[in-house]
């Protein structure tokens, strides 16, 4: 009798385990915790220390945040990042959308050039950021050998693409737009393939012109995809530093030093782990806030509709 109960109890336990998704999710949880949550926790912890990269002793303090906020470069770094990200996101999405529309229309008309365009744009996305930085630095070269200067400037005059502080930021932003447009194009192009053709045809039959079909039918249907595009492109641009590092290193002065590059410089060039971690937490916070604002904006729009 007792042994039967035991067997029944064991069965119940094993059945409970087998039926529950927890054992299957447990390994994933361990991996996520070790590779994602723990580093975030460590960065947050280190941001409240005066730790250096060379190790040794450190103490818990708010000094890293205070010196970050009081730094004469802080406001400039935020301004540079805001301009870099906002222009990059707007134009990446705009160009991505336009190219996707063109490629889609070309494909519908059986034009081979649309496949070539798609491949060419995608190749920009596949190139590592450092290589893109080097490619664009060759294009922006200000000596007589510079390609863009040869095409755009008059004899004896060169355009200071990377040595004028304002122009340098614009130049870096253009290079980033070139790099990131492909991602937006891929997403929008994928979205265009999912549009219900009957809805589009119905709009056409009802007499909607091309603009009306674009703004009243297509864009609302693509809104979820565009939202994902907006979030991903924004976060990716905020986190960009490799291309800027290769192109200008943050200069001239600090005119192109975005937050992500500042983190790299503080940790790997100045060995200042505490302040670098504090800046990383700031960047994480910016990313979370921006995503939250986007979500609220989308929810608001959906409620209005």
């Amino acid at each position: 009798m007792l042994s039967e109960k035991k067997i029944a109890g064991r069965r119940t336990w094993s059945e409970t385990i087998t039926d529950s998704p927890s054992p299957w999710l447990f390994p994933l949880g361990i991996i996520l915790g070790a590779t994602f949550l723990y580093p975030i926790f460590e960065i947050a912890r280190l941001s409240f220390t005066n730790a250096g990269l060379i190790g040794g002793g450190y103490s818990y303090t708010f000094e890293s945040y205070l010196s970050l906020l009081q730094s004469p470069n802080f406001a400039n770094m935020l301004k540079v990042t805001a301009m870099f990200v906002s222009f990059s996101v707007v134009f990446q999405m705009l160009f991505g959308f336009l190219i996707a529309l063109l490629v889609d229309q070309g494909a519908k008309r059986g034009l081979r050039v649309s496949m070539v365009t798609r491949t060419a744009v995608l190749s920009a996305w596949a190139i590592p950021g450092v290589i893109i930085g080097i490619i664009w630095s060759i294009l922006y070269e200000q000596s007589a050998a510079g390609i863009l200067n040869y095409v755009l400037s008059s004899p004896g005059q060169t355009i200071p693409f990377l040595s004028d502080p304002q122009l340098a930021l614009a130049s870096v932003t253009v290079a980033n737009i070139w790099r990131g447009t492909a991602f937006s194009m891929i997403l929008v192009y994928a979205g265009l393939q999912t549009l219900p053709s009957d809805v589009m045809e119905a709009a056409k039959v009802d007499g909607a012109n091309a603009w009306q079909r674009l703004f009243r039918v297509m864009l609302p249907l693509l809104a979820p995809i565009l939202f994902i595009d907006l979030v991903v492109v924004s976060i990716e641009t905020f986190n960009t530093f490799d291309m800027v590092l290769a192109l200008t290193g943050g200069g001239p002065g600090r005119s192109t030093e975005v937050v992500a590059l500042s983190i790299y410089n503080q940790i790997f060039r100045q060995f200042n782990l505490g302040q670098g971690a504090a800046t990383a937490v700031l960047l994480l916070t910016i990313n979370i806030v921006v995503t939250f604002v986007y979500i609220r904006f989308l929810e608001g729009n959906q409620e209005v509709r």
Partner: protein, 436 residues
């Protein structure tokens, strides 16, 4: 006829699985143990890519392979070669981190200006030097290799120096003062010729090559004895404003284009130099071999000569920055320390070793005696470089704040060149960045 099914129970499955994993680990460990280069008798030797077996130059690789194999045969130890990333600053940062956690390789090369920060982690090696005399080293190298306690902490095996290169077909007497340089530059200024170039981007070269020589020659100091930044105080401030103002004047007068902010390293100037449209530039001794390859040895030597970096007053008063690489030895095991130093002496530090490696790589030896070794092959400029090392060279300060100072002053130079700030404003921002 029924075939009895053989069902593997969960327990059996776990046993089999466990035995399999254990077997794999055992086989793996046996496999690892068989590798001579990772056992107890292996010396883990770390170098930057250009100094390693992965160097793009076949001559270097051949030299290293020969040095390693002959030393392995005679010592009974094996060299386990490790390579850092090509970003030197990042590689040094990671090595510092490893050293502070007792995870550093047995031997690693360290940029000389950063070596004092390794003093707490490297082992003293004075007992293993044998016939290598410390007094034979240039004073600046001796200073780097020796800690405050007088112990020998590392072995410098290459050095370098910054100079002004000038075209002999355009300039008969090189300018020694800032006023002379501006005058010479303006005389040469034309659409076809850029009179004076120097690196002014966001990298170490901007300060070591384009700023510190001006600043130090006026008696300026970056830090005090405690390592506290003082470049913005009193006479140091005046010297720094003068230096930044001179850089500004070079740009304003038109002899230096604003695009120098694109040049992060000395070698970034090579393209301009090779184009034949540059009259003078600040650079390093290591550019000679590169430029000879690009322009052609005969043409380069016939056109270019080197002179001290001009100073404010001119005359014999000049200063320049020396650099180079130092070997640090990390293991606590004394036998490994001895073996490691023996390898370093054989390949890089003894008369023959240093002469061989410096000849192959085109480096300057940090030991005076090596210049006289018959096997040492310098170039047409080596005697001048040696003289500059003796008379003008000095190190960057060993202070922990140096990285902050360097970054802040790189930014200051960039701001001045790009007209983003006046010299005074740029210096003020640099001082606040470092003190914040």
């Amino acid at each position: 006829m029924s075939i009895a099914k053989r069902v593997v129970s969960r327990r059996e499955f776990l046993r089999l699985g466990g035995a399999g994993v254990a077997g794999a680990l055992l086989l793996g460990s046996v496999g690892c143990g068989g590798d001579n280069k990772s056992g107890e008798n292996a010396i883990r030797w770390q170098a930057i890519p250009a100094y390693s077996l992965q160097a793009p130059d076949e001559n270097r690789v051949e030299y290293l392979q020969n040095a390693i194999s002959s030393w392995e045969e005679s010592s009974g130890y094996a060299i386990d070669p490790l390579v850092t990333s090509s970003d030197v600053t990042e590689a040094m940062a990671l090595l510092l981190e490893q050293a502070s956690q007792n995870r550093a390789p047995d031997i690693a090369m360290v940029d000389s200006y950063i070596f004092p920060r390794f003093y707490d982690f490297v082992q003293p090696i004075g007992d293993y030097l044998g016939d290598i005399s410390l007094s034979d080293y240039f004073p600046f190298a001796r200073e780097v290799m020796t800690g405050e306690d007088g112990e020998v902490k590392g072995l410098q095996f290459t050095t370098d120096v910054r100079v002004m290169y000038y075209r002999t077909d355009l300039i008969s007497t090189p300018p020694t003062s800032w006023a002379e340089l501006l005058r010479t530059g303006q005389d040469l200024l034309s659409e076809e010729l850029t009179p004076y170039l120097f690196p002014a981007g966001r990298d170490e070269a901007t300060v070591t090559t384009s700023l510190f020589p001006y600043f130090w020659a006026q008696g300026g100091e970056l830090t005090d004895a405690d390592g506290t930044p003082v470049f913005g105080e009193g006479e140091n401030r005046e010297a720094m404003v003068n230096s930044l103002s001179f850089i500004e004047e070079c740009v304003e007068s038109g002899i230096t284009p604003r695009r120098v902010t694109d040049y992060a390293k000395e070698t970034d100037l090579n393209g301009d130099v090779a184009s034949g449209r540059t009259a003078m530039f600040l650079g390093g001794n290591w550019q000679v071999n590169l430029l000879k390859e690009i322009i052609g040895a005969e043409q380069f030597v016939s056109q270019w000569e080197v002179a001290p970096v001009p100073s404010m007053e001119g005359g014999p008063n000049h200063t320049t920055t020396a650099g180079g690489w130092v070997w640090g030895v990390f293991p606590e095991d004394e036998e490994k320390q001895r073996a490691g130093v023996d390898f370093l002496k054989t390949a890089f530090v003894s008369d023959q070793g240093m002469a061989g490696w410096c000849s192959i790589g085109g480096y300057l030896p940090p030991r005076q005696a090596v210049f006289e070794v018959p096997d040492y092959r310098g170039n047409e400029y080596t005697d001048t470089f040696r003289e500059h090392l003796n008379r003008y060279a000095r190190n960057r300060p060993a202070a922990e704040t140096y990285q902050d100072i360097s970054t802040a002053l790189q930014v200051a130079v960039g701001q001045v060149v790009s007209r983003d700030a006046s010299p005074e404003q740029a210096l003020e921002t640099a001082v606040r960045s470092v003190s914040g």
